[in-house]
């Protein structure tokens, strides 16, 4: 049995002349919660669609549960649950009827699975309400139910918290954690709520303009976003030069026109301040801080909103 649930090799999808995703190499091991981060249009959904066989890649290869090739890959997809982009529902049917269809398609013999699954996502009491009258949050939760009814080993969720209220977000987060721990599920999750994602993900892939710019574990991310000295000043270039000359600091980065991050000698913040002021540099603020996932992402992709 392969330790990898998903591996892609140079996976690409082109629309006309433009690449939606380009040569993406992702590796997800069993039990990992893999957070896929990217701006709108970065290629997250296209990547998920290519993995689930909804779009046909123009290049590269997908390996699921160690299987490649058309037939084996389709067999592998039977072990996947997915919810990609807009929730897929029959608008004139109830939640129970919608889920019953999914149960029949996936060949789950036990009819009681429908009610149990609806209970697990908090939709057991929707009764005869038609799916077209559901709120976005209810649709999202229903979407999660369609992904779960097949009892999948690998769950692919695109923006599962989209449209949920704070309570719903917390519940979804707890559900994902529970699924990962109790059922040993592997998850591939994309989200705009990066700090929310940071609370569940064990690994990350950062995708920008169709390319995977970084793949790292939560531990590696913690190291990369480790504590640093944040200096807000009027002259970043001069301040950097002085820090290098006086303190021998090399790991120093201007993150914007007036903000510097120093990742060395963070215990000497006071001395740095005194030295900079002595040399006529205006220090508006200085202090030790920790980088958030959101800031790290912006730094890697050059800004914008995830």
């Amino acid at each position: 049995m392969s330790e990898y649930v998903l591996r892609t090799r140079a996976l690409s999808k082109k629309y006309g002349r433009d690449y939606a995703i380009q040569e993406i190499n992702v590796e997800i091991k069993r039990g990992q919660i893999y957070g896929l981060i990217g701006l709108n249009g970065a290629g997250k959904s296209t990547f998920m669609r290519a993995v689930t066989g909804l779009v046909l890649p123009t290049g590269g290869e997908v390996e699921l549960f160690g299987n490649t090739g058309d037939i084996a890959l389709q067999r592998g997809r039977r072990r996947i649950g997915q919810s990609i982009e807009t929730p897929a529902i029959y608008p004139n049917m109830t939640a129970e009827q919608n889920l019953e269809i999914q149960r029949i398609i996936s060949g789950v013999p036990d009819k009681s699975t429908v009610k149990k699954t609806l209970e697990s996502v908090g939709l057991a009491d929707t009764g005869k309400k038609k799916a077209k009258n559901f709120s976005l949050g209810m649709k999202q939760r229903f979407s999660l139910a369609t992904a779960l009814i097949t009892n999948p080993e690998f769950l692919i969720l695109d923006e599962p918290a989209n449209g949920l209220d704070p309570k719903g977000i917390i519940e979804t987060r707890e559900l994902l954690r529970r699924l990962a721990h109790e059922r040993g599920l592997t998850l591939l999750v994309s989200s705009h709520l990066l700090d929310e994602l940071a609370q569940v993900a064990t690994h990350y892939g950062i995708i920008d303009k169709g390319k995977l710019v970084k793949q790292l574990s939560a531990e590696q991310l913690a190291l990369e976003t480790k504590q640093h000295v944040r200096i807000v000043t009027n002259d970043c270039a001069q301040a950097m030069a002085l820090l290098k000359e006086r303190f021998g600091i090399t790991d120093c980065q201007a993150v914007s026109a007036n903000e510097l991050w120093v990742r060395e000698q963070i215990h000497r913040t006071g001395e740095m301040n005194t030295m900079l002021v002595k040399h006529g540099i205006v220090v508006e603020s200085i202090g030790v801080t920790e980088q958030r996932l959101e800031q790290y992402f912006m730094q890697l992709t050059g800004g914008g909103h995830a």
Binding site: R49, T52, G53, L54, V55, L56, L73, Q74, R75, G76, R77, R78, I80, Q82, I84, E85, T86, P87, A88, I89, Y90, P91, N92, M93, Q97, E100, I101, Q102, I104, I105, S106, G107, T146, T150
Partner: protein
């Protein structure tokens, strides 16, 4: 494959589309019976009710296209097409299961129309003098052949639904097709190529009432319908296999 067919069967009966269309057809035929009863010029005995839907094939085809548009093509904008494909179901099987649903719907719509017409005209003008056995034979033959001929049309509709991937586009394209088919015989006759019309299922639907005793006509019609089913299915599967699903 069986799971996909079962799902289509479930959707047919639990969904709204087929029920709404059946209601509309029942209302339409009932109105026609009333119109005939109150001064129409072609009263019909109930025993011939099964031939009535053939006489209104233009409307029947529009109802079929509404069904295919809102039952099959709507799966694309609703996103529900993803649910089976992402579960590793083969696209050929998915296509065939939708074609199966379209064929079942055609059979049901035709059956309900025939029954409503039979009952309606019987109430209005009497049933007629056929024995029960004679009537059963007449009804089954007419119903069976009409359904078979309409399956060719249903196959074409399904292909259009998979190409257009939009309910409204499916209905509009089919409307254009049905209107085109009304004009085609005159156009082809003027050009001296009327035989070309025999390549369309509409020809067999249109002339069934007059040529139902002609075995060559029946064999050609059946062969043409099967050919439509097979050819559109092959084209549809090829197209669908190359389609990206949003």
């Amino acid at each position: 494959m069986t799971t996909l067919l079962s799902a289509e069967w479930y959707k047919l009966w639990r969904g709204k589309v087929l029920h709404v269309i059946l209601l509309c057809i029942t209302a339409q035929i009932s109105l026609q019976v009333f119109a005939e009863f109150y001064g129409g010029d072609s009263p019909m005995q109930g025993q011939y009710g099964v031939t009535m839907p053939a006489g209104m094939s233009f409307m029947m085809q529009l109802w079929f296209s509404a069904f295919v548009g809102y039952f099959i093509a709507s799966e694309f904008p609703n996103g529900t097409m993803r649910n089976s494909l992402a579960l590793g179901k083969y696209r050929t099987y998915v296509y065939v299961s939708k074609l199966f649903a379209a064929c079942v719907a055609v059979a049901v719509i035709y059956l309900v129309s025939s029954i409503v017409a039979t009952v309606g005209f019987s109430l209005a003008f009497g049933f007629g003098d056929m024995s029960l056995l004679e009537f059963a034979r007449f009804f089954s033959w007419n119903y069976g052949m009409q359904v078979l001929f309409h399956w060719g049309f249903a196959a074409l509709l399904t292909l259009i639904a998979f190409i257009s991937r939009s309910p409204i586009m499916t209905v509009l394209v089919n409307l254009a097709y049905v209107i085109g088919m009304l004009a085609l015989p005159t156009f082809l006759t003027a050009l001296g190529y009327f035989d070309v019309y025999k390549c369309f299922p509409d020809y067999y639907v249109m002339f069934f009432e007059n040529l139902s005793g002609d075995s060559a006509f029946i064999i050609h019609g059946a062969a043409m319908s099967v050919a439509y089913l097979v050819i559109t299915c092959i084209i549809g599967c090829i197209v669908f296999k190359r389609t990206d699903i949003k």
